[in-house]
Amino acid sequence: MFVKQSKTSYYLDRIESSTKILAKLSDSIGQYVLIFMVILVIGNIILRKFWKPIYGSYDYISFTNAVFVTLTLGYCAIKKNNVAIEFLVKHFSKKFSRFINIIVYFTGFCIFSLITKEFIVLARELAHVHEVSGTAYIPISPFLYIEAYGFGVLSLINLIYFLKSIYNKQT
């Protein structure tokens, strides 16, 4: 029993560290996307003033924003940046806190897995009908796959924390 538990722990730690690397990498890419978005907006202002605006800039900025936000979600969860009401939680016993963590992370895993799956379904549907954006005419489906990826990472993190809570490890 002891050997089995420690093996589980070992694999859990390995998966956790891999997921954290993935989330960190996505987050770093997201940060560069944000820099690109600022440059895009400023570029559009300058070009509009001195020549002509970037055609479809609204679409580019919107999609860039979506990519930036999605890529940062996983790391936000790792860093516990999500707002929660904690004035009651700190009075809970350790055992009860663990039970609550199991519920919270399992819920997070389920809901974000569903969102991931639905984004993939939506992306497939829109790719099938060749749906494009309103002004720049860029295909929407690749961006929906990125959304699915971002929520997939978030869901994976919740799954790992859920499993760690079950095995009574600090999350």
């Binding site: 600022v38 936000v69 936000c76 999500n82 009401i85 009651l88």
Partner: protein
């Protein structure tokens, strides 16, 4: 079961989820999704959930959020707070109570480039408190002054809270920003009056500063420390005011301006720059997830027709609208004591906003009122976030010490709220002249 009863049950479940410490975004998405499943069908709820998230994440209007957050984090990391504080210090530092006045003015000025109360409190606190402590000011009064003045950042544009309110209610961000200017200045003035009255009533709390008088030449020379950022603020707000920029563009101009000022003054290096980007990513991810959750929850509320039911119920009461708004404010005040301000606004606005419109209140005015009430929430126990941030950033200052000194500033915010309730023009005067 009627829609309204389903919604009331779901509100109860939502509160349970929040009380067990579930992240607000998770709770909103979960309850909104399950409720929508129950009222309509699973397939339409799934479709609504994903399409709502995509609509929010890929909305041009919402791209204003990361821009202004980035501008604020850049201001935070480039040491702008200390420059602005020491300029205010030069003007008021040698008056009795002048360091507190300088702190309030420093926070107000910092609020003009940063929309986060916690950032304002942490930065100004670290700069101002050593000076205040050196001259022997009362600990409670001075730390409470920092915590309360930091809250000005969510009223004076660019305000993160006003952006989120605008996003949730589809109100123009530019108008909301300009609506915050006069109340922000009014509240700054009221904080200063509160300091002066406290000094008058309890002179033992505020020591006599035996500092040499600073010449006017020196005072005006110190203005060069902040003139660039002041010009940047004018460019951003002026650009919004006369229609040069959309709010997103104004935010991007602010970001580029802060970067240029930071690198030019050598207060920003690459490490600080990437720290600002990193912080922006953390805050933005969290906000977008909460706003998505609040929108899904709002759609669920709409499909149960609860907001209409609430409006009809309130209409049948035949109570004067001012009484209803007073009840709403008291509700926010109580809620603010227990809830994070962002959570409270995102939870309640989708439900209350239709009622506010039905009662004939101006949505821009209501936005400012909400921000004012939220300002009280960030400094009142037990969840006064500004107090906790300040206590964390300063060593050996327990939260109780800060909470003890908060009363004069709380009274100032209450007076400001009353003035805006009775004279809505304070809020609505400037937005009349703006296009966005």
């Amino acid at each position: 079961m009627s829609g309204s009863i389903i919604f009331i049950i779901s509100i109860f479940l939502l509160i349970c989820c929040l009380l067990i410490g579930m992240p607000v975004a998770y709770a909103l998405i979960l309850i909104g999704f399950i409720g929508f499943c129950y009222v309509t069908s699973v397939s339409s709820a799934l479709s609504l959930m994903v399409k709502t998230i995509w609509a929010i994440f890929s909305s041009y209007e919402f791209s204003v959020i990361p821009m202004f957050i980035l501008m604020g984090t850049l201001a935070f990391h480039s040491g702008f707070a200390s420059r602005i504080y020491f300029t205010a210090h030069k003007f008021f530092g040698y008056y009795r109570g002048g360091l507190l006045i300088a702190t309030t003015l420093g926070c107000a000025a910092f609020g003009s480039v940063c929309g986060s109360t916690t950032a304002a409190v942490a930065t100004i606190g670290k700069t101002a408190y050593p000076e205040i402590e050196k001259y022997g000011y009362d600990r409670s009064l001075s730390t409470a002054c920092i915590a309360a003045s930091g809250s000005l950042a969510i009223l004076i544009p660019p305000s993160n809270m006003l952006i989120i309110y605008g996003v949730l209610t589809e109100q123009p961000i530019g108008k909301l920003f300009t609506a915050g200017i006069l109340p922000g200045l009014l509240l700054t003035l009221l904080f200063i009056i509160a300091i002066i009255i406290t000094r008058w009533l309890k002179p033992e709390l505020v020591p006599v500063v035996v500092n040499s008088k600073i010449s006017w030449k020196e005072k005006f020379a110190s203005l060069s420390n902040i003139v660039d950022v002041f010009l940047l603020f004018l460019l951003m707000m002026g650009g919004l005011f006369i229609g040069w920029f959309s709010p997103t563009e104004a935010g991007a101009v602010g970001v580029i301006g802060m970067v240029l000022i930071g690198f030019f003054r050598k207060t920003l290096n690459w490490e600080n720059f990437f720290s600002a980007i990193y912080d922006t990513a953390r805050i933005t991810g969290m906000i977008f997830l909460i706003v998505s959750g609040a929108t899904i929850f709002g759609y669920f509320a709409a499909v149960t027709q609860f907001p209409s039911f609430l409006s009809a119920l309130v209409s049948n009461l035949h109570a004067p609208p001012s009484l209803i708004i007073a009840i709403i404010i008291i509700g926010y005040l109580i809620g603010g004591c227990f809830m994070d301000s962002l959570a409270m606004v995102t939870l309640t606005v989708p439900i209350l906003f239709p009622l506010i419109l039905k009662l004939g209140f101006d949505p821009i005015w209501f936005g400012v009122i909400i921000v004012l009430v939220v300002e009280m929430g960030v400094i009142t126990p037990p969840v006064g976030i500004n107090v906790y941030v300040l206590s964390g950033s300063l060593e050996n200052i327990p939260t109780e010490t800060i909470f003890r000194g908060i009363i004069p500033y709380l009274i100032a915010i209450i007076i400001c709220t009353f003035l805006i309730l009775f004279f809505p023009k304070i809020v609505l005067l400037l937005p009349m002249y703006i296009t966005y």
